[in-house]
């Protein structure tokens, strides 16, 4: 029997969706059916609904498919699938916590931060910081403060907001020993440092230096102090402090690398080009015993330092300038928009070398790229 258009259209017009749509509007109708999500994720749709968190640790043997119960700066408590008793892991070893389920705003804010969309991150995380479970609120609040700090590093007028956000987070979550409190203290110090408030920056690190937040963070406090000294261009004092962390066997892979990069930056400040190169080569780039997830960002910074050293030594030598350009490009090739400043600085410095080499097309292209990828960076101003 032929199917006519009229038949089909009538059928369409009488469909449940059409009816619901016409009567109350789809969105209003669906809002009247709450808590369907829970049903949906119970396996009804035929997809796996297993919730699985992940704990990323130093050394690469991550904990996948677990359920994180609590996370403090002392320890992370989790359960293995099918096991009712909790396991504990020292927070000193933990690099990152990933949760399988988190509110959309928190997830979006985290993603925006990862890709350098700071305004988007602030917007999403502001909403997320007041929604959902306490754990989600704490994560969102910490990430919000981080996003504000990075915005503030581009526009100093935002630093006050960042300081306020870190203070608020610490005030709320320090008593609960939240996992991110030590990170927040480092962030607070960085925010004061960016504001030029050196004593406040050091003050923020005090609890870390005292060992209130665990052994790992004593060295963290020292590292923070060294960064403050570096920002003040006190090369010798900063260098000594970086050295003390870098050479401390208790410093983890990540902290050690950061300390060596700070050390090399001091050497750059002292125009010790060859020494800076040796430091980044021996301690970062050619050191295989590092956690790669840390070293990817650190590597970019190391190449940047090496590039600067090459440029500093070049004195107009074309080959040396080409090497500097290559090293800046090596940084740019791996630095993400999430590592905005490293990427922006790499592109900026590559541009300056390209100009010196007379590569005018490249200068133009790098200018456009800088504008597109890091429009608000200080390196684009």
């Amino acid at each position: 029997m032929p199917v006519t258009m009229k038949d089909e259209w009538m059928k369409l017009a009488n469909s449940p969706i059409q009816t619901a749509h016409a009567a109350r509007g789809w969105n209003r109708w669906i809002l009247a059916v709450p808590a369907v999500l829970a049903v949906l994720t119970s396996g009804l749709v035929g997809h796996s609904s297993l919730r699985a968190d992940e704990i990323i640790v130093t050394g690469g043997r991550n904990y996948q498919g677990v359920t994180i119960s609590t996370a403090t700066w002392e320890q992370v408590e989790y359960r293995l699938p099918g096991v009712s008793t909790s396991q504990k892991l020292s927070s000193d070893k933990v690099l990152e916590l990933r949760f399988s389920g988190e509110p959309a705003n928190l997830s979006r804010g985290r993603g925006a931060l990862e890709q350098g969309d700071l305004e988007g991150a602030v917007s999403a995380l502001t909403s997320a910081s007041s929604q959902g479970a306490d754990r989600h609120r704490s994560n969102a609040s910490y990430l919000l403060a981080e996003a504000l700090l990075r915005l503030g590093q581009q526009d100093s007028s935002k630093l006050t907001a960042a300081i306020g956000a870190f203070d608020a987070f610490i005030a709320t979550y320090e008593p609960k020993k939240d996992f991110y409190v030590p990170y927040a203290r480092m962030g607070l110090s960085a925010a004061y440092k960016s504001s030029g408030k050196w004593s406040d920056a050091l003050q923020a690190l005090q609890p870390l230096a005292q060992g209130d937040l665990g052994n790992k963070w004593v060295l963290g406090g020292t590292l923070g102090k060294a960064e403050v000294l570096l920002a003040q261009e006190k090369w010798t004092e900063a260098r000594e402090m970086f050295s003390s962390v870098a050479n401390d066997s208790r410093a983890g892979a990540s902290m050690g690398t950061v300390a060596w990069l700070g050390y090399a930056s001091c050497q750059l400040g002292q125009k010790q080009w060859s020494s800076a190169t040796d430091t980044v080569r021996q301690k970062v780039l050619e050191n295989r015993d590092r956690n790669s997830s840390v070293t990817t960002a650190s590597r970019a910074r190391a190449w940047l330092i090496w590039g600067r050293a090459s440029q500093g030594q070049a004195s107009g030598d074309r080959t040396q300038l080409q090497w500097a350009l290559i090293r800046y490009f090596r940084a740019a090739v791996i630095a993400t928009t999430g590592n905005g400043d490293i990427l922006a600085e790499s592109l900026f410095r590559a541009k300056s070398v390209a100009r010196e080499l007379g590569l005018n097309d490249r200068v133009e292209e790098l200018t456009q790229r800088l504008q597109k990828l890091a429009p608000n960076s200080v390196w684009n101003q």
Binding site: L12, H21, I30, V45, H47, G101, S107, G109, Q322, K372
Partner: protein, 965 residues
């Protein structure tokens, strides 16, 4: 299957094809077949039945179905052609036309769009009443769409910005000139026709004529609707090719929303097309930034069902299901793009809970035609879940999807469909990144990067790939994906024209992930780019070349890398860098892994021969170098023979021969010993055997081993009659025969000249007159008088007006030589007297090459006349001329002696002149002088009875001496 159902479905097939091209960047052949056959089917409105057979007369529906399967399902245009050829013998005239259209379709299935289009045009003229002829214009438009998508694919994969821009311009030009304008013009014409007929129907009073006109109107309306629908489809496809952020895309989507809405509201004739238009409308709204409206419009299609009673035809079920899947995917996508993932989850919730938990009727395994659409739906669902907060379910769904589609079995069974599905998946994942979802696995970032690149956004692709590098996961799988991320960065940078960064990305990959699957390709790319940059810019880039070479050598795999090594080695050798070249030659292995197992490297022995050649070149001690290089080659000869590698053994023997027969020294017997097995023990027509036999032939000729040379030339003639080796080989033998002074060999030289000038490679017609004169000389010596005269006439003609005295002299000289050879000594003498008078100084001073031989030739003329009348004055003239000739030749010979080598041909001419001179002296009874002159020559050669002249002439000197004594 009902007629209308087929009509409905086939009318949309072109759209599916265009969409698939758009999404994947690859128009797979199956899709092309689907397009062409579907257009044919839609115009023919064929009904199908369930079997096939070869028949007579008109084509039956089952025969049409068979053809469709041959072209689409089995993707076998050759089989279709065979069937068509058989069927044409018994076909009616209309069936013959249809079969010829199918032949055109076969061309299209093979990717020959131009050929297809040309055939369609021809057939439309040949069979104006055939139903497909009426749709020929529309088929031309669709062909243009295919060309357009091809251009876009080229743009996506172009590795230089200039190329990319060129392809993009081509794509846009095709769109404007061959699609958009044609569609618009035809739709206007169609609407005008419809209006006109409609007016006539209304005005017509006669009911019978009114009925006929009404029928015509229905047909016109159908065609108009088809054109309008194709316009919607074309815009949708073209929009999909434009970059997401382009203003043109946004404007076109607005227009598409408007047109599709009008179509849905006004064109009722074909329900399937109307559903499709509704789908297009919803998608256009979503793309225009109106997600809620889009979702509402698309939801109208989500649970459509066929009317009528079951059982339903599978085609109808498939169509309905595809509509449901596509519209649901569209709704989810609209919500996702608007950052309303929770709304999308709510919709899914409702459908699964209220309508059917299995909605929209997933099946396992999926119908291959629906599978890509289901994959898109699943991707959108996964996106909704991840972005909506249900991260683990979403990621799990995504993982399941990848796991089920990206399998070795799928790639083997249907690579194009698998690619299409995975490309859709990648594009979907790239959307996830645009929604600010982070904290993903390296794999998802890399797939997203591929999706961005597929969407024509290489910059975003590079940034997405970088995020994979930032992941803290460092397990084996993550490292593989991080390596792929760097490869993706390299490819994207290349597409953006940032070759330096592309090179660096490849370098980072090779240095940090040497265990990766893509390390071989990356090291090759790094090597290739740095090689170019190093030679273009020098400095640091040149300093990087050794690094690239090392990485390349350490990591290269597969035949490609071996070829690259061979190429690099040859380049290094050309630059005289023998040590580097030798190293590269020797790095080429005898086997390579093609992924399925070990394969023989076809140029292994050639590479080793090259290595030995470089060793020979490197050596300063010739003897030691010869021993070492020959030793290396000899050690491989047995292996090459047992491998039955004729090319390999020929290459080795050629190089061995070259070592013994080179500019550094010549050892003919060793060279012959090395090369002879190629002639006698190997067979075949490989280029390497050709080279070795030609070298052997050259040695035979140089050594005067004419009988052997004849054999080698015969082998060359047998296997390479059209190659240049025959030209060269024949020439070598001509020279060899010419050097020999025997009458037989002179004759043979002439024969060979006559053969040589007939060879296409000799380009005799284009050769210089001087060469023709040389050949004519050989022909004269060989007593081919007529041929010599013809050649001289040609040379004379070519030389006329050239104003070259050397040519002028040459022509006169050879004409005289020919006259002498023909016994016309007086003519020869007159001509030579004129010549010598005209160029007296030049002749006696030996200022031109043939000067001494002009004098010799005049002596020959005088000798001929002397023999006729015994006039002693002739002897005196002869003696004068020969003495003058010898003075010039002596001078030249001295110069040659200083140069180190006297060509055998010159030596023959020199001693032959001496012989003539001495014979004249003897005739003039000056025997003492003859004996003295011969004695002094013997003294120079070592005294006693030492031979001084070439072997062929020495006995005559000995005889003369004896006679004079």
């Amino acid at each position: 299957m009902h007629d209308r159902d087929v009509d409905a479905r086939d009318g949309e097939a072109g759209v599916e094809l265009m969409e698939s091209c758009n999404r994947t960047g690859h128009c797979h052949l199956r899709g092309i077949a689907l397009l062409c056959v579907s257009i044919g089917m839609s115009l023919l409105a064929t009904s199908g039945v369930g079997a096939q057979s070869l028949g007579r007369g008109d084509l039956t529906s089952e025969e049409q179905l068979l053809l469709r399967e041959l072209l689409i399902s089995y993707n076998s245009p050759d089989l279709a052609r065979i069937w068509i050829d058989s069927r044409k013998k018994t076909a009616s005239s209309s069936a013959r036309a249809s079969l010829e259209y199918y032949l055109a379709d076969a061309a299209r299935v093979e990717g020959d769009i131009d050929g297809y289009e040309e055939s369609i045009r021809t057939l439309a003229r040949k069979y104006p009443n055939h139903i497909r002829s009426k749709g020929a214009k529309l088929e031309a438009v669709l062909a243009a769409m295919l060309r357009l998508t091809d251009a876009n694919t080229e743009a996506v994969f172009a590795t230089s910005p200039a190329d990319r821009q060129g392809f993009i311009e081509k794509r846009d030009r095709l769109w404007e000139d061959e699609v958009r304008r044609i569609l618009k013009d035809n739709i206007r014409i169609q609407n005008s026709d419809v209006d006109s007929i409609q007016a006539r129907v209304i005005a017509e009073k006669d009911s019978e004529r009114k009925g006929t006109l009404a029928q015509t109107l229905v047909e016109k309306v159908q065609i108009r609707d088809l054109w309008e629908f194709q316009e919607l489809s074309a815009i949708q496809v073209y929009c999909g090719l434009l970059p997401d952020e382009s203003a043109a895309k946004s404007a076109l989507f607005d227009e598409l929303a408007l047109l599709s809405k009008q179509f849905v509201d006004l064109r009722y004739d074909n329900f399937a097309r109307r559903y499709r238009a509704q789908l297009i409308y919803g998608k256009a709204l979503a793309a225009s930034g109106r997600p809620q409206e889009a979702a509402a419009e698309l939801e109208l299609l989500v649970d459509i069902e066929p009317s009528g009673d079951p059982p339903y035809d599978p085609e109808v079920i498939r169509f309905i299901r595809s509509m449901r899947v596509e519209s649901l995917a569209g709704s989810l996508a609209a919500y996702n793009r608007a950052s309303m993932a929770t709304e999308a989850l709510d919709l899914l919730e409702y459908l699964y809970e209220e309508v059917d938990p299995n909605f929209p009727y997933r099946t396992t395994p999926e119908d291959p035609e629906i599978a890509p659409l289901v994959a898109v739906l699943d991707v959108e669902e996964a996106i909704s879940r991840i972005a909506g907060g249900d991260r683990s379910t979403g990621l799990s769904l995504m993982a399941q999807l990848i796991q089920s589609y990206d399998t070795v079995e799928n790639w083997k069974a249907d690579p194009s469909s698998t690619r299409e599905t995975l490309d859709r998946l990648a594009r979907g994942i790239s959307r996830l990144l645009e929604m600010s979802v982070g904290n993903l696995t390296p794999e998802l970032y890399v797939r997203a990067a591929a999706g961005f690149r597929d969407r024509g956004q290489p910059m975003k692709a590079a940034e997405a790939a970088k995020r994979a590098l930032g992941c803290r996961n460092d397990d084996k799988s993550s490292r593989q994906w991080k390596a792929k991320a760097l490869y993706e960065i390299g490819e994207s940078c290349d597409a953006l024209g940032r070759v330096e960064e592309a090179a660096i990305a490849y370098q980072v990959l090779v240095e940090r992930f040497p265990e990766s699957d893509v390390v071989a390709m990356a090291s090759q790319n790094f090597f290739a780019i740095v090689g170019d940059l190093g030679s273009d810019r020098g400095g640091a880039w040149a300093e990087l070349i050794p690094v690239a070479e090392k990485l390349f050598a350490d990591n290269s795999q597969g035949l490609g890398s071996e070829q690259l090594k061979l190429q690099q080695a040859s380049e290094a050798e050309d630059r005289g860098e023998y040590s580097k070249a030798r190293d590269l030659f020797r790095r080429i292995g005898s086997k390579y892994d093609n992924g399925a197992g070990e394969m023989t490297v076809p140029f292994f022995y050639r590479a080793r021969a090259g290595g030995a050649r470089c060793l020979f070149r490197l050596s300063t001690d010739l003897e030691q170098g010869t021993r070492d290089a020959a030793g290396e080659i000899r050690a491989l000869l047995g292996d090459a023979r047992s491998d039955r590698d004729v090319s390999g053994e020929s290459s080795l023997r050629y190089e061995l021969g070259r070592i013994y027969w080179s500019d550094r020294g010549k050892d003919p017997s060793s060279a012959i010993e090395a090369l002879k097995p190629v002639l006698e023990e190997l067979s075949g027509s490989s280029v390497y055997r050709e080279g070795a036999i030609l070298l052997l032939h050259e040695v035979f000729c140089a050594e005067g081993q004419l009988a052997e040379a004849e054999k080698s030339l015969a082998e060359i003639r047998k296997n390479w009659s059209t190659e240049h080796s025959l030209v060269a080989g024949t020439y070598y033998l001509i020279e060899a025969c010419k050097v020999s002074s025997t009458v037989e060999n002179s004759r043979r030289a002439g024969e060979l000249v006559l053969e040589w000038i007939e060879l296409p490679g000799s380009q005799f017609d284009e050769i210089a007159p001087a060469v023709k004169l040389g050949l004519a000389s050989i022909l004269i010596d060989a007593k081919f008088s007529a041929e010599a005269a013809t050649m001289l006439a040609e040379a004379q003609q070519d030389a006329e007006g050239a104003g070259d005295p050397v040519l002028d002299i040459g022509v006169a000289y050879f004409l005289a030589k020919a006259a002498n050879a023909a016994g016309k000594h007086r003519d020869a003498l007159a001509s030579l007297d004129d010549l010598i008078d005209k160029y007296a100084d030049e002749t006696y001073n030996g200022a031109y090459p043939d000067a001494p031989f002009v004098l010799v030739q005049r002596a020959t003329a005088n000798r001929g006349l002397y023999e006729a009348n015994r006039d002693d004055s002739r002897l005196e003239m002869m003696a004068d001329d020969l003495r003058s000739a010898l003075a010039i030749l002596d001078q030249r010979r001295q110069s040659m002696l200083f140069g180190g080598e006297i060509p055998p041909l010159f030596e023959r001419d020199y001693w032959s002149t001496w012989l003539q001179y001495l014979e004249v002296l003897k005739a003039r009874k000056q025997c003492e002088q003859v004996i003295g002159l011969i004695g002094s020559r013997r003294l120079k050669a070592g005294g006693g009875t030492s031979a001084f002249a070439p072997e062929s002439l020495q006995p005559r000197f000995d005889q003369l001496e004896k006679e004079c004594q």
